[in-house]
Amino acid sequence: MKIWLTLILCSLIGFGQLSAQEGKATLSGYVKDADSGEELIGATIIVDSTSIGAATNIYGFYSLTLDKGKYRLIVSYIGYEAQVIEIDLQESETLVLELGTGSKDMDEIVVKAEKDDDVMMQDAGVGTTKINIKKLETLPVFFGEKDILKSIQLLPGISAASEGSTGLTVRGGKPDQNLILLDEAVVYNPSHFLGFFSVFNSDALKDLTIYKGGIPAQYGGRASSVLDIYMKNGNKKRFSLSGGLGLISSRLTFEGPIVKDKGSFIISGRATYLDLLLKVVDNERFGELALGFWDLNLKANYSFGKNDRIFISGYAGRDNFGFGNFGLNYGNYTATVRWNHTFNEKLFANTSFFFSDYYYGYNIGRSGDDFTIEAGIRDFALKQDYSYYLNPKNTIRFGVNATYHEFQPSQLRSSNDNINSLIADKTQAIESGLYIGHEIQFTDKFKAVYGLRVSLFNQVGAGDIYTYDESNNVTDTTTYKVMENIQTYWGLEPRLALTYQLLPTTSLELGYHRIHQYLHLLSNSTAAAPNDVWIPSTNNVKPQIADQISLGVKQSLFNDQLNIGLEGYYKYLQNQVDYENGADILLNTRIESQILNGVGWSYGAELFIQGKIGDFNGWISYTLSRTAYQFAEINRGKPYAARQDRTHDIAIVGTYELKKRWVFSLSWIYQTGNAVTFPSAKYEINGQKVSYFTERNGYRIPAAHRLDVAVTFKNKPTKKFQSSFTLGIYNVYNQYNPFSIDFRQNETDPTRTDAVQLSLFGIVPTITWNFSF
């Protein structure tokens, strides 16, 4: 097997002209923001009028090997003005390329090329989209809180699990099937405030790339999508303070150089004060209320010489909710230490260590007579990645990683004599991966990114492992020692993304991936509840397997002013997880025996039209899709629509910039309602009326639609101080969109039953003030 792979790889590299011939030279270095020195991820350096070029990696490093000679290179990055540089490449050299947002004059050799800084979303290959985080600020947002997880819901194939939720469903997937990475560390619960806000403070973020198809081999572990998020490194040139004051929270960011052009740091914090405000208003009613969240992003980096660089970054966040004797506390911590090493101008290496921790705890009662319920997951991971920039036509990425997972199932500690404590033992697993990926430009028109990932999952001791019979009784218990292997799963995960340039303005794309998901989130709600439980694959729970194929066509019109993309996909999911009727998610040491296994599938078509006329920018996205599950134990074994099945999903987004100081924006969405289960008849038990359900998810809540608008006003851009006000209106025409529908007895006539629709948000005006200096 390995020999075959090596042979195939070698022959393909050969096809792309392997040998480093005489008469060639390599240009390498970093692409940076001219203002702050921030490295740019995925910036492209293209030889003018050809398809030959390179893109920067996640550390902003590029490497381009060319025949010796004179070249015109176009350097571009989303949200920045593209630059043309003219070089005479006679020997290998390093060159730092700086891109600006247009306000300053660049270096003399630089000629301004076309303006690319208005695009908010950029197509970045098969099933991949890059987001311009800076531009997102101008979009109308929920309660004035800019939020990347909200904004990307305006893209085709991505929608919210329910209104206002940061829980994402990507191409029919569940929220737990998204790999959410912050500086490469996994974020297990991306939400604050029961899912209404995300944990990502946009002020501290630099780059977001979303993969929903043809996922590259370096990613693994989640079945539906990857959200690869990077924090800013911090301003390398000068100290800067920025922040904002909003209705829900306020933000403050401080960044600057440690040693100029050598290292920098950034500290960014965010906190809410809703409960304090409420107490001011009505201390009688809200005196015992605690309601809030905070988060803190920290990052520092330092270059040791030309070839080595260290990054340390961390995130901490917590939600607190309390009322009287009830308290709930939950949140994530992540930490990453990375070491970049450039062996030579072609081989780039990165070694990373991560830590990630998610915890939740309830505390009920008074001290001395209280109990605590808590659970969590903790990761320690090591990762080694290499990028080898063989020549402009071949880039090879390979690496290995291992994660030690520690799961704390929900447990109860009690200081009350009437309640025993329920201490649940931790369970452990090691998830590892080995991958190799190859990007090859076969011809000017034909590009392939393909790879293979081998994923391995070992459930390890220490612990007692149970075997269950069909009626969920324990038939056997085996005790394992520390690190003793209990159960092994592994899988081969081929990845493929092909792009063929049919015409200069038309390209065809094909993507395929297989991914194994070894961790599962058990959830009993539509909202992202903090007490949802992550469980590993074990001897009783099999890993999920996803296969997805996608086919797309991209067309650009009017000199790239209008871009149209049409993509179809089919996804098949094995070993999907649900649980038996009546199973408890909380404090259930035998949840494994109550897990049900089924299959799911999703298929759909996504249309994306993005255009630009003068200072007007916008897009229309439309998704037509179907998602279904089939479990032997549910719906009498017949397939049923998934709750997140969305037949139609439309988003229209527009922004208009007036004289660089005013930005008007709007977004309108339309979505088919969630599939839900309603009763078909009723009967009586114990004198109570009980609903009789005949099919799972056989009904729909009504479709939702909503218009949001915002206007941003900036002060005159002086050098020192910049500030802007954003006024927004959420749900302009006050449409009461259904969140849920409940059946209950009519209050005046108990013999009658009413269907009651709950809507969460009517019209909400917001104001936010942002500043920086």
Partner: protein
Amino acid sequence: MNFNIIISLLALYILTTSCEKIIDVDLNEANPAPVFEAILENDSTCVVTASLTSSYYDNSTSPAITNATMTISDQLGNSETLSHEGDGVYRGSSILGIIGNTYTLDINIDGELYSASSTILPTTSIDSCSIQDRGSLFGGGGAPGPPQYFVYVNYTDPGNLTNFYAIQTTYYDSVEVGYTTDYRIADDELSNGISTRSFTTFNSFKQGDTLRIELASIDPATHLYFKTLQDALAGGGFASAAPANPTTNFSEGALGYFGAWSKDEIEFIIP
């Protein structure tokens, strides 16, 4: 200062922007299915109420099944046929529930057969009842007027078994003007082998109110039925999992349960 007030008002608005309204939802009609509520208590005879499901919005009571043949039998081979008393109520006359026995109920309706079994487990005795000031539970405040109390039932859980309980609380409800019975279930996952207390009802009482509390020791299948019934009654509302029919111990096609149990009871006057 003005700024603060504006912000506060906005924050209040945010919390109160949600809204409920009554809408029309067309529901499919289902074929009527039989529903059995079958109980056999220790030292009592078996009682079964049989009815059919009815249209969801229909406000008449469920139609009774009057043509069923029902047989109760134990694992020793004793059996009897229940007699129909009218209105779908069937009752036995000779077989009494005995602790330790497993009973099977066979029902025949026009040739369609349904069957369920249940075991009577040993009684757990009620030790006493206790009360808790409703105000103190949520840290002060509370409603004006005389203090209101929540009622707990106290018992000692046997340590050698996994126990499941059904707690039935009957009291005079001055709002409904009549007697009301509330049902709750409990298990010993967090109280195995200790003296414990279980909550009886979310209703609260004042001094002098009288309650009758029954503590039934039920088998796992009956417990699962009551648990899933509780979930179903809670409804598929705000942010909950997809609702499902309660897990019956009857064979395919029937709704309801057959529960055989032993119980202890107590009458309690709020001191």
